[in-house]
């Protein structure tokens, strides 16, 4: 494993607070995910890939921007693993260096309609940029 990648893996485990070894690979997280079909790497694989330190692939994953933070996987995991926390931690690793920002202020106006609630914009900023 690349040394940087190992460091990323450690950061992700620390920031997420997830003990990936608790996973028994039952797949209930992926079974429960409402946006499964939109993801290239699925919730259960986030757990195993973090365990294996396969972080760079996760950082490239489209799934980072498709996770809805609905916590269904967290709620239903029989072993308390919290896959959504891992996805969040990887996402942060991508957007924390500023170049990783997915949402730029100048792009906002085009996205808006008049009814969009503030909190949606705020959360989009929180989710997609730093």
């Amino acid at each position: 494993m690349h040394a940087d990648e190992r460091k990323e893996a450690e950061t992700i485990i620390r920031a997420s607070g997830v003990n990936v070894r608790k996973c028994m690979k039952c797949g209930k997280c992926s079974a429960t995910c409402p946006n499964f079909d939109e993801m290239d790497i699925h919730p259960h694989r986030f757990v195993s890939m973090v365990e294996e330190g396969d972080i760079f692939a996760l950082m490239q994953s489209k799934s980072l921007w498709r996770c809805l933070s609905c916590f269904a996987c967290v709620e239903r995991c029989p072993r308390g693993v919290e896959p959504a926390n891992l996805i969040e931690a990887v996402r942060l690793e991508v957007i924390r260096p500023l170049a990783g920002n997915r949402l730029r202020p100048e792009a906002i106006p085009a996205l808006l309609d008049e009814k969009i609630p503030q909190q949606l914009i705020v959360s989009a900023f929180r989710k997609y940029s730093k």
């Binding site: 620390r14 920031a15 997420s16 607070g17 409402p34 946006n35 939109e38 921007w65 498709r66 809805l68 933070s69 609905c70 916590f71 269904a72 967290v74 709620e75 959504a84 926390n85 969040e88 931690a89 942060l92 996205l111 309609d113 009814k115 969009i116 609630p117 503030q118 909190q119 949606l120 914009i121 705020v122 959360s123 989009a124 929180r126 989710k127």
Partner: protein
Amino acid sequence: MKFSYYPGCTLKTRAAELDVAARQAAEALGVIMEELPEWQCCGAVYPIARDELATRLSAVRALDGAKRLKNPLLTLCSACHHVIKRVNNDMQTDDDMRAKVNSYMDLDDPYSGETKVVHYLEMLRDEIGFDKIRERVTQPMKGRRISAYYGCMLLRPSTVMRFDNPENPSILEDFIAALGAEPIRYPYRNECCGGYISIEARDVAREMSRKIMNSAVKRGADTIITACPVCLYNLNENGTGEVPVVYFTELLAESLGVKEPEGGLVHAR
């Protein structure tokens, strides 16, 4: 009964109906909602990562504000409730987080999760009681068939939120029944509507919200109620449009007779 009230950003602007109706209903029920002085936006999403500190501070400020006023903190928006409740839980259970936040905030009296965070619905259920509300209803919603849409934020993760049974909640159904309408249960009422993603991928959000609305309508719902501005936006904008989606507080104010229906049930949005 007195609460410090945290309205949150959206209720001050786009979701003013949610806020105004809630205040009117509370007044009618004898609940004092004192708006917290100097509140800030909660950030709308709970910072899951344990190394996120700054994004927790505005929630802690609100919690500490209520603590100093010796009031429980009342929330209304699902997102605000979720963020503040979970940050409060961090302050109660995570020693490291508590130490860092307190050393950053430099409060005279360190905050360690003393404030009780109460959602408006919990207030109705636990403080007033749905039976009492039933007695206070002046315009019962006889013959109405109403579905509740819970969304994610109020219920999950249940170990922290402790709001209701996360897989088979009943608080909104009990609320609907208290107003005299028939609650219509359907299995997707606690599944995500995809609201967050509507900025990025509207088609995805559309598919998800339609699945939810279809399920409710198929069972005969004539209205859907919710507590979340994002869900309301998403179901209204990206849903099937077959039935109106309104805030639960609007129905409450209406049936307590404290708010005139403007142009029928759903006023111009």
